[in-house]
Symmetry: C2
Subunit: 446 residues, 2 copies
């Protein structure tokens, strides 16, 4: 069987390796447009922050290893441009400009996502960059060093924007953030967002919300970012306004698209063509809280779905339960985590949401070094179900959120969750874990 | 209504405060034999480790505050010695030697647990101490300072023994641990126990397992601990051989006892007398994995059960789901956590257990500062159910165990757990969370 995979990143390489492990007779071909496969994309901001660390440290496994050790036919520098479903064939072009085509029995689209670039004047200047591929990361890192960057502007205020904020600060780069919409972190409860805002201000970051960007113009060796009512000078600009699924080729081939133009797949990762699978940042998924489709491009989903595609192609039926929307990031001294829905998302999904925020402590009474933990918890008033939780604090946030993720997978009520036997020892939390205090308080509002 | 509570620690004071909040007309009387109520007992080893920190910092709320602010009739120095169920009366004696008696409509026994002292010669010497009450803690701390303790022997190797090991080391006290049984930490998987053993040896602790203790004798200003084939000299000895429930008075009153002679209670915390409740370290509870009775004396259970008793006395029916046996402690640079059953406990409970150990990393590939995380996970081969998990590592252990606790409350299979959408960011873990790696590996054995 010919199993062709478009894209050699998390989902694609997970599927390729697993398919070969499950059935060495499957003829696995991976077509990757860049030269990098299997690297820790999420680690790039942290790597950029440290001039001593080699960017190559992020590479988990090189293409040659997959080819020689895993016996995977992996072709880098091969960009697929079209899928011919009738002929069961993909066509494309190499970086050297040569065209190619390959037949498939089963096809897996794992094309990922790309950075959203505003269609405005000046965004094609060489000082304007996004952080998506390893090449992007290398380019940004060498640009900071070679051009001796002293001032940067970040457009956008998502995870990558916030992580890069810290990376720039660690490199001694004075950073301004700007975005057109008025609210700093609209997906986060305001009490919690304010804690992050204060931390950024403390670290000398300038935050400009509600400024529509008009254009970028050259200015000396740098650029001038021209907004409505604001002008920012910078040596370089990072565009971190979000990502979009790379689904054009799937759409052109007539496959159904889903949420946010991602490729629509079922719980077995099948597209609307039974011989074509899609997964990772280019495809949609199910949400365990709503049981509806969602598009949440994160690394774990891509890896897990890649494995499931391999299983299904090799004949084992693997069905994915979906995602809880769990995420975590670090910004300066703060850990920020969420799982499930915020209050607005819950209302949009048809729930009758009620929320509550608490401020508790990271360690027991009388234990030194305790810091605040801020929690916002959301429940459905009708059923008492836990719908989501957000947390911000200096410690004890990143892994604590996992208890919420598991609770959401089990559709627990807040009252049942409040009876969970969570761990207690003075260095790690109060006797009533912060999540239990949040649940105990929220129960009173249901 | 006269609501009398015997014992003013976690369970007793939680019940007293909650009863007054729910119904200010309830006549709440707390009888406490010591002078300390509401302090962080678990914080004592950490406090002892730091000569600069006042032991009083562990007091959460003083008796006077409960009396004046919460309008609770709290009598300290009042030791109850007998319960007359027919007359619905308790009798006792004060520290001043005066006898007392009080009528009750509802009685709550929250007498806690006491340290197990071997019945051997020399254990009554002044150098021999246990760490249970705040007075014990103060005595140990002042003894270390005043007697300039340089060498200590700890009898036992449980949580308190290990925490006190670290406290002694921080105070510059050379410490030996000894116990009669042959296995260092028998409840922990050997691979994980070995990690802790190595850490203790690295920190200069002498560990002697399998030495039956014969007697303790005075030796200069200190003592000599005389074991079969081993003699240990020390300035002081800490007896940390476990605790036993303070249930004698309940037994004498004819109440049913349960596991390990703890007071038998139902899910509403009722004893075999419908007007008498018991909870906390003196009572048994249900285990969410086995649905059978167990006796696990830990602080969260005591606090939660105290609230439930108050609810039930005040007319709201609150039923406890039980405990997952979750615990965590810190020993030097290691975090040690568990939830659920180990392989032997699972077999004893009638499951068909299968276990697997993995060693993963605390941070993502290429992220600096990563350290090993060791996990042992147990499942039932027949049903695929997750039964328990143990973890040891330098970071990312203490709060991660909570995801397991929630999974156990929901009686999840390992396969379902392996689909959990756990959080990922490079500073906090690999893309496949260590718990997911453990689950993915264990699934293959089921």
């Amino acid at each position: 069987m010919k199993f062709v995979i478009i894209g050699g990143d998390a989902a694609g390489m997970s599927a390729a390796s697993r398919a070969k492990r499950k059935n060495p007779d499957v003829d696995v071909l991976v077509l990757e447009q860049t030269h990098d496969v299997s690297y820790s994309a999420c680690g790039m901001p942290y790597n950029i922050s440290d001039p001593q660390r080699d960017m190559e440290k992020l590479v988990v496994r090189r293409a040659e290893v997959f080819i020689e050790k895993n016996k995977i036919n992996l072709l880098t520098g091969h960009r697929v441009t079209a899928i011919d479903r009738a002929a069961k064939k993909v066509t494309g072009i190499t970086v050297q400009g040569e065209s190619f085509d390959f037949d498939y029995d089963k096809l897996f689209i794992a094309t990922g996502a790309s950075a959203v670039f505003p269609d405005l004047p000046g965004f094609d200047l060489p000082q304007i960059m996004a952080l998506k591929s390893l090449e992007d990361g290398k380019r940004i890192k060498s640009y900071i060093k070679e051009k001796n960057v002293k001032k940067a502007v970040i457009i956008g205020m998502g995870y990558i924007a916030l992580e890069m904020c810290e990376a720039f600060e660690k490199r001694g780069v004075k950073t301004s953030m700007v975005k057109p919409r008025p609210i700093f972190l609209p997906w986060l409860n305001k009490d919690l967002a304010d804690v992050i805002h204060e931390e950024l201000i403390d670290k000398g970051i300038d935050i400009h919300t509600g400024y529509a960007i008009k254009k970028i113009e050259p200015s000396g060796n740098g650029v001038r970012v021209d907004c409505e009512g604001l002008t920012l000078e910078a040596d370089m600009v990072l565009v971190a306004s979000g990502v979009k699924p790379c689904s054009e080729m799937a759409r052109d081939a007539g496959l159904d698209l889903g949420i946010s133009d991602s490729i629509a797949v079922d719980r077995y990762l099948r597209t609307s063509d039974e011989d074509i699978y899609a997964a990772g940042d280019c495809a949609d998924t199910y949400h365990v809280v709503t049981d509806d489709k969602c598009w949440i491009p994160l690394a774990l989903i891509a890896n897990r779905a890649g494995w499931a595609v391999a299983d299904n192609v090799c004949g084992t039926q693997t069905r994915l339960q979906g995602v809880a929307g769990t995420s975590v990031f670090k910004v300066f001294s703060l850990e920020v985590a969420r799982s499930g829905l915020n209050c607005k998302e819950a209302a949009d999904a048809g729930f009758d949401p009620v929320e509550n925020s608490v401020k508790t402590r990271s360690r027991a009474h009388g234990h030194p070094g305790s810091t605040p933990i801020h929690i916002n918890m959301v429940a459905d008033k009708k059923t008492g179900r836990l719908l989501g939780t957000q947390m911000v604090g200096k410690e004890g946030v990143a892994h604590r959120i996992n208890a919420i993720a598991v609770a959401l997978h089990n559709k627990m009520t807040v009252e049942d969750f409040s009876q969970s036997d969570l761990a207690y020892a003075p260095p790690f939390g109060p006797v009533w874990d912060p999540l239990l205090t949040a649940a105990n308080q929220l129960v009173k509002k249901i």
